[in-house]
């Protein structure tokens, strides 16, 4: 979230699209209802009518997988209707920048497409620059090659007729949403968007979010109270686990994983440290070397020295252009190339797409190590349905883990609030925490390498691994202090004009003080400052003061970065630092300093041509990107059909599907687009009483009683056509597999009219697996395809094609 949960109450219009907040984030929804009580309009756009729809002002049904078309139409409405916030757009975005004249877009493809590689050469996706290397701009936004004009041209194709025909949303509904939402383009109005897996689980997932980001920038809704783009994330510490990057492409704090072509530390740092010639751009990532070298010091400790490039050569290097996501991982495992798997607190035998392929892949492992509080379908795959244990070679460990209230530590919510938890009791039986498991397992591995040696033993032997207390258990404060960072030498610094010595072994007070010469170590730069220099654990703070009255609670927990509650907050003020909305003043430049939330950097506002900086300090040009060349599919989002959909042709271009998604080709990766055999659009979701794969909640009698088994929701119209009665036994099938379930005939789904014909959509929850309850339902993901977003590889769980039959 750019903002945070409580801040939802400050909004004037809340668009919930890609989320069923009332059922999946009930306590977030409380803040949405607070806004509504105060007069906000709340709109729900979703394929299905849910309990969220019931509490909103109105619900707009939309066909799964067509969000970019819907939002593209809104961009057209905002630009052509002159509803955008001109000052904000001109000063705080790259709208005025002139784009390379060779950049083009034609029939669904941007310039530079390579059909064989299914990717783009991005050399024309650039800006024209002056002699000093600063982008050329036209603040009048009239130059035909400026971003604003290209954006206008791109979305001019998204007419009401076209969008309605693709999405199945009536023109009346489209106009209603466009008009109400674009009214937040007024300087004193705030609009926010709440999304969840309904946006990320698509082959166009990241571009869904980017399309909304463009809208938020056009309306001046980023960086303000009650605004932003707000991901209601689905797991308790998914923010923290992402920040610490248990991910193939990033290292803690979103530092880049090195690739094979970057052989030396110097090459790596040059590649990843952006430079700007514009003196008004803070270009904060110019500090990248400080963050990265300090991280290497946290990894290898004293073994990381300037002479050995701080151990850079020991790091694993990815192959350039190759990906290693969960989709790739199970694809490689199915090929037999992966021999050992650790699976902690996760149940991919239920939650990964294309269950048949996933479970077959597990059978090819030599060994599997699971750590959980309950047994699950992954750990027990070797005696699952249709599996003969005597044929399965895999050696399996199921390690008993501590539950959350049985261990001390911190957890980060979606609003980046890092809250401290205390250990109430010791775990039952032999159970220990995942942290203790990792420490003791790594101790055993280090001991073996110390004794026997082996290829590339250095990174294992040199891993800094002194995080135990005197009893040999994980010392959580030792870990969290290393994450915050230490001085590794006595260093003289200048603070408020005065010289001061920082002593070796002391805690680094903020990431602004991290250094690239090896004199600081920091496990994750964005968490630097979570401890005070005096040792105060800021994550444990419970102060209830709310000086702005806007729910920032600056003394409750720690929020990264540097306790900033709303990121990009300098954009809430005009170029002189006066709040655009004095009623919701989160920040103001007063008497030569910022007052309010922790500002995005201390510099004066940008009207001060000498010392002032642009507001989007993490962007190389200092402004937000309407034109976003980092994306795989192109700088402007474009509608493509899902891998499997009801249409044989994309109504907007000759490119049916996202031209940059990777296609998997094993014998179990069958696809059926626009097929009579699988005529119905299908989507998947959760429910209030279960959580994700149900791996925790199915073992709880109270919750299981409420939601005992798998069902498919089908409209009354489709039920009549198929002669299926409410409560009867049915089978849902796709090109990849089947799910036996109960039919729920409901008014919540309605048929769509798409390209002039009736298209039905159905939906199933994804919370069930064979292990428990006994004789219950199995995974919905037997139906879903192995395909993901081109940027993130989030799987497509939300739009694919099925059939429904009686059984």
């Amino acid at each position: 979230m750019t903002n945070h949960y409580i801040d939802l109450k400050n909004s004037d219009v809340i668009l919930i699209m890609g989320s069923n907040a009332a059922e999946h984030h009930p306590l977030a929804f409380k803040w949405i209802m607070r806004a509504k009580d105060a007069g906000a309009r709340v709109i729900h756009v979703d394929p299905r009518y849910t309990r969220t729809s019931a509490r909103c002002d109105y619900h707009v049904p939309i066909r799964s997988g067509t969000d970019i078309a819907f939002l593209g139409g809104m961009i057209k409405y905002i630009i052509e209707g002159n509803k955008f916030f001109r000052d904000y757009v001109v000063n705080y975005t790259n709208a005025s920048f002139l784009v390379n004249p060779d950049f083009s877009f034609e029939d669904g493809l941007f310039s530079g497409y390579d059909a064989q590689k299914r990717s783009y050469n991005k050399e024309t996706w650039t800006f024209q620059k002056d002699g000093n290397g600063i982008p050329l701009k036209d603040p009048t936004l009239k130059h035909p090659q400026c971003v604003f004009q290209l954006l206008k041209q791109h979305y001019s194709r998204y007419t009401l007729d076209k969008v309605s025909s693709i999405t199945g949303v009536s023109k009346e509904n489209l106009l209603k949403v466009y008009e109400e939402y674009s009214a937040t383009g007024a300087p004193d109005k705030a609009g926010t968007e709440c999304y969840a897996l309904g946006w990320t689980h698509h082959t166009s997932g990241s571009q869904n979010i980017r399309t909304m980001s463009i809208i938020q920038l056009l309306l001046g809704n980023m960086g303000i109270a009650g605004g932003g783009i707000n991901a209601l994330r689905g797991e308790p510490n998914v923010q923290g686990s992402t920040d610490h990057c248990i991910l193939y492409g990033n290292l803690p704090g979103y530092l880049k994983m090195p690739t094979a072509s970057l052989a030396t530390l110097e090459q790596y740092l040059t590649k990843n440290t952006p430079t700007s010639s514009d003196p008004q751009s803070a270009n904060y990532y110019q500090n990248y070397p400080n963050f990265f070298v300090s991280w290497l010091k946290s990894l290898y400790g004293d073994a990381a020295t300037p002479e050995n490039g701080f151990g850079y050569s020991w790091l694993p290097k990815l192959e350039d252009g190759k990906h290693y996501s969960q989709l790739h991982l199970f694809d490689r495992m199915y090929e037999g190339a992966i021999k050992g798997l650790f699976a902690y607190g996760t149940d991919p035998a239920v939650s990964s797409p294309n269950t048949k392929k996933t479970r077959k892949a597990l059978e090819k492992l030599d060994w599997l190590v699971c750590a959980n509080i309950f047994d699950n379908e992954t750990a027990s795959f070797w005696f699952g349905p249709g599996v003969d244990p005597k044929q399965v070679k895999t050696e399996v460990f199921l390690l008993p883990a501590a539950a959350t209230m049985e261990k001390e530590g911190s957890q980060s919510n979606s609003g980046r609030w890092v809250q401290w938890k205390y250990k109430a009791v010791t775990p039952p039986g032999d159970a220990i925490s995942c942290g203790d498991i990792q420490i003791r397992m790594m101790d055993a591995i280090k001991a073996l390498y110390a004794k026997e040696g082996g290829p590339s033993a250095e990174p294992i032997l040199n891993l800094k691994w002194n995080y135990k207390d005197i009893d040999g258990n994980m010392d959580v404060l030792k870990v969290s202090k290393q994450i915050n960072g230490y001085w590794e030498a006595d260093v003289e610094v200048t603070e408020n004009g005065a010289k001061k010595i920082m002593n070796k072994g002391g805690l680094v007070p903020t990431f602004g003080m991290l250094r690239s010469d090896g004199t600081t170590s920091c496990g994750n730069w964005i968490m630097s400052g979570s401890f005070g220099a005096d040792g105060e654990n800021k994550m444990a703070r419970r102060g209830k003061e709310d000086p702005t009255g806007l729910g920032l609670y600056p003394n409750w927990s720690f929020v990264w970065p540097v306790n900033r509650r709303i990121i990009y907050n300098r954009a809430s003020c005009d170029i002189n630092g006066k709040p655009y909305n004095p009623k919701r003043n989160i920040l103001e430049w007063k008497d030569g300093k910022w007052v309010g939330d922790v500002p995005d950097g201390p510099w004066p506002p940008m009207a001060d041509k000498e010392k002032g900086k642009y507001p989007f300090i993490m962007k190389v040009d200092g402004v937000a990107s309407l034109f976003g060349p980092a994306m795989a599919e192109g700088p402007f989002p474009e509608h493509y059909e899902p891998l499997e959909g009801p249409l044989a042709k994309n109504p907007l271009s000759s490119q049916l599907i996202n031209p940059t998604i990777e296609l998997f080709s094993s014998d179990l990766d069958q696809v059926a687009n626009a097929s009579d055999k699988f005529p119905y659009v299908c989507t998947t979701y959760s429910c209030t009483e279960h959580w994700c794969s149900g791996a925790l909640t199915r073992w709880q009698a109270w919750l299981l009683e409420m939601q005992p088994e798998l069902y498919v929701e089908i409209s009354e119209e489709l039920a009549r056509e198929l002669e299926i009665a409410n409560g009867s036994k049915v089978k849902v099938s796709s090109a990849r597999g089947e799910a036996a379930c109960i039919a729920m005939v409901t008014k919540r789904f309605k048929p769509f009219t798409i390209e002039g014909r009736t298209v039905h959509q159905v939906g199933l929850p994804f919370n069930y697996g064979w292990l428990y309850p006994e004789d219950g339902s199995d995974s919905t993901n037997f139906l879903t395809p192995t395909v993901g977003d081109a940027n993130t590889f989030c799987p497509e769980y939300k739009a694919f094609m099925v059939n429904v039959t009686r059984r």
């Binding site: 308790p236 992966i338 607190g345 205390y422 109430a424 039952p428 397992m441 590339s456 891993l463 409750w556």
Partner: protein, 192 residues
């Protein structure tokens, strides 16, 4: 962190006592049970924690009985500004994640190749066996240089998944150690 007993418990106790004047004794018994639980909470040790389901970050309070050392009650933390004491269905059922749930795993389980059953093992055995498997697999398959002869130092045949359902400090230890092992197939629920 230990909290003092909260005012609203006093209030709910008082309401219970005055309602007990009715003739139907069922509610009296229920209120008595509630009062007795209130008394247990008064003398218990209380610890704050954060919910383990969605990412709202709702606060909870676990009450631990002084005599048994076990959690006997979990409820919303009214001081936490996010949830203000309220919880959803899953959060309200948090007690069922404690050891009171008979399905909790309490022993290391091991399944040998081609076996049709779990066996119980101790930690020392498990860690030493896992370390052996990791080292043998890594040493056999380790990729020092790629096809272009560039140094890559990676272990492609071991993968790690999870978790977004453990604490930050645990996540960080995993993130650091899998890099030291040279793993590249590293992922978790942020993706799925």
């Amino acid at each position: 962190m230990e909290l003092t007993r909260r005012g609203f418990l006093k209030l709910s106790g008082a309401v219970g006592a005055s309602s007990a004047l009715g003739l139907n004794f069922k509610p009296v018994n229920a209120y008595a049970a509630e009062l007795s639980k209130s008394n247990r909470i008064k003398s218990s040790k209380q610890y704050t924690t954060i919910c383990a389901y969605c990412s709202c970050g709702c606060g909870l309070i676990c009450s631990v009985d002084n005599l048994t050392g076990k959690i006997f009650n979990i409820e919303g933390d009214p001081e936490n500004p996010i949830n203000e004491g309220a919880l959803c269905a899953k959060g309200a059922g948090f007690f069922d994640l404690t050891e009171a749930n008979k399905h909790r795993l309490t022993k290391v389980r091991y399944r040998a190749p081609y076996s049709d059953k779990w066996e119980e093992k101790d930690w020392d055995w498990a860690f030493s066996r896992i370390a052996r498997l990791v080292k043998d697999t890594r040493d056999k398959d380790f990729v020092t240089t790629n096809a272009q002869g560039r140094l890559v130092n990676r272990t492609e045949s071991i993968a790690h998944l999870g978790s977004s359902n453990i604490d930050n400090e645990e996540c960080w230890l995993i993130s650091q150690s899998v890099r030291a092992m040279g793993l590249v197939y590293i992922d978790h629920q942020a993706r799925v």
